[in-house]
Symmetry: C2
Subunit: 325 residues, 2 copies
């Protein structure tokens, strides 16, 4: 398999940082960010040199009631433009579309009329054909596209090989390795990354990585997969994201040597907007209950429930997880 | 350089876990643990399959006033025996002796009369000759010994090569790679680990790793260096240790596949003894201020001071660190 790409002191121009704070972080607060928060994060990301900012989901308004969620679950064009105007910055705007949970044929206008640059299609392995159909549609509309294959830690090598082969023949621009359960160790993550990279060799497609911090390995797995050639890196401010959270953007900005990236403005944002969010009681981040679901390679839903109940009986929770394996 | 040793599903019998909670964690609370805490941790470690438990320092009572510290800064024989009796368990007892800060010629009795099994000699690179003198003394007394070379991230390759050569000709049993500033990335850590391993090839000596969590990489660096053949792994309960803390023992117990290790009892201990410690205001663990000193490869003293002052002006603190680089 291929070796490492670049070194710890160099700059790799293929690296793209994607801030997923509003999208993955929105899962912690029902997407109820204030306009000020989102506007200031947008400005901060531009000043920090971030390459893409994901604003949320384009969820079906037939399946989900708009009154029950913050607006970033739906990312309507007018709501995006209220924040970014015509987005005159170099940073690109991304939204996520879940297979089976969006009305992609009606809810997306041509790229030439939209401020959105990239649509990220999230799917499980059995939804790959549906994902490809969506990707081709978005490609025809003029958008950049990614395919984020979730929960790969539960997928067989054979299935994954077939999925990667199908995607490598599609119009998709970036294929994401997604550690949904935070169950990958750096050795697993880099092995999978090399498999993805090999699958797209010669196609011009890029590979991305989306981490979860269940075993406190989100940052480590991100820089490890990057070292083998993964170039699209998801992160969120202070690792805000469902359950144990993601890879912290500040850690990545501290690590990367490209002078276009700047840590200082993100720290200002953290002081003014993230600390109050935590004080208001929005909860995320590594803790023992997430370590358990990570090491057992399962969905964090029980750990999230445990967290919401403010429980501290870790040993009992662990015992029951083992019983329900 | 040598490749990885073992795999993610296997058991490596050379692995030894060392719990350093009282010693490194003692730096957070002036070594003022209750006897109940230390006794219960000892029992927990025995039940969890931990190989070594480090009880604290053997600091000079001429240099440090006994009334100003908890007893685990001095680890007197009678204090150890009050906890462990004759230590009839399989777990071994370790203490740390800092070069230049202990009276090693008078304060250590022969191993045959002591409940201590291992003396860990901590030193900076310029103290290697002094460390070797101590190691030979402890070896003559019958103890297992380690040499923990601190702050290697600031040491030149030439110096380190010489130090490792000197140590490989000494009586030391284990040489520790110590990431004092939490500044190593997994790539650096594993490269250094392979250098240490190569230096002791054919001598029968083992290599250990002691992590700090400044960049949230303590666990990642520990399992990464282990994968290349490091076998003595330091960890602490809930990562308790100076500043950003260490590698969390619970993460290691969750990772290792050897059935001798057991996570459940440690969780019971955490519930009953660690959560109250945090509630009492004992503070440690990853936060932005430690990330800064980690990425800048410097001593965390300014970050510890910042923490003690309960400051939240991260951007200002970062700016000043850059000015005083």
């Amino acid at each position: 398999m291929a070796g490492r790409k670049g070194n710890l002191m160099g700059v790799r121009d293929d690296i793209k940082l994607l801030d997923a704070t509003i999208r993955d972080g929105g899962l912690c607060n029902n997407f109820e960010f204030t306009d000020e928060f989102v506007t200031e994060l947008y400005k901060t990301n531009v000043k920090s040199g971030i390459d893409y900012m994901e604003f949320g989901y384009k969820a079906s308004r037939n399946m989900f009631n708009e009154s029950e969620f913050g607006k970033w679950k739906f990312c309507k064009e007018e709501d995006l433009r209220a924040i970014v105007g015509d987005n005159l910055s170099d940073m690109k705007i991304a939204v996520m579309a879940d297979v089976g949970r969006c009305d992609y044929r009606t809810d997306f206008i041509p790229k030439s009329e939209s401020v959105i640059d990239m649509v990220r299609v999230a799917c499980y392995i059995h939804q790959i054909p549906a994902a490809i159909e969506m990707i081709e549609h978005f490609h025809t509309l003029g958008y950049e596209t990614t395919c984020n294959i979730m929960a790969v830690s539960q997928v067989s090598t054979e299935q994954l090989t077939q999925a990667l082969e199908m995607l490598s023949q599609s119009s998709v621009d970036v294929i994401y390795l997604v550690d949904s359960y935070g169950s990958l160790y750096p050795e697993n993550a880099s092995e999978l990354a090399r498999m993805y990279i090999k699958a797209v060799e010669g196609t011009g497609k890029q590979i991305g990585f989306h981490a979860h911090n269940n075993q406190n390995l989100a940052f480590a797995n991100t820089i490890e997969t990057m070292s083998y050639g993964v170039s699209y890196l998801d992160a969120t401010v202070q690792a805000m994201g469902r359950g144990a959270g993601n890879c912290a953007m500040e850690l990545l900005l501290g690590f990367l040597k490209n002078p276009k990236y700047n840590l200082y403005y993100l720290l200002k944002f953290i002081e003014k907007y993230m600390l109050p969010l935590k004080e208001q009681g929005v909860v995320w981040g590594y803790d023992l209950q997430y370590m358990f679901t990570g090491m057992l390679n399962r969905h964090p839903r029980e750990a999230i429930e445990y967290t919401n109940q403010h429980r501290n009986d870790f040993s009992e929770f662990y015992k029951i997880l083992l019983e329900n394996y």
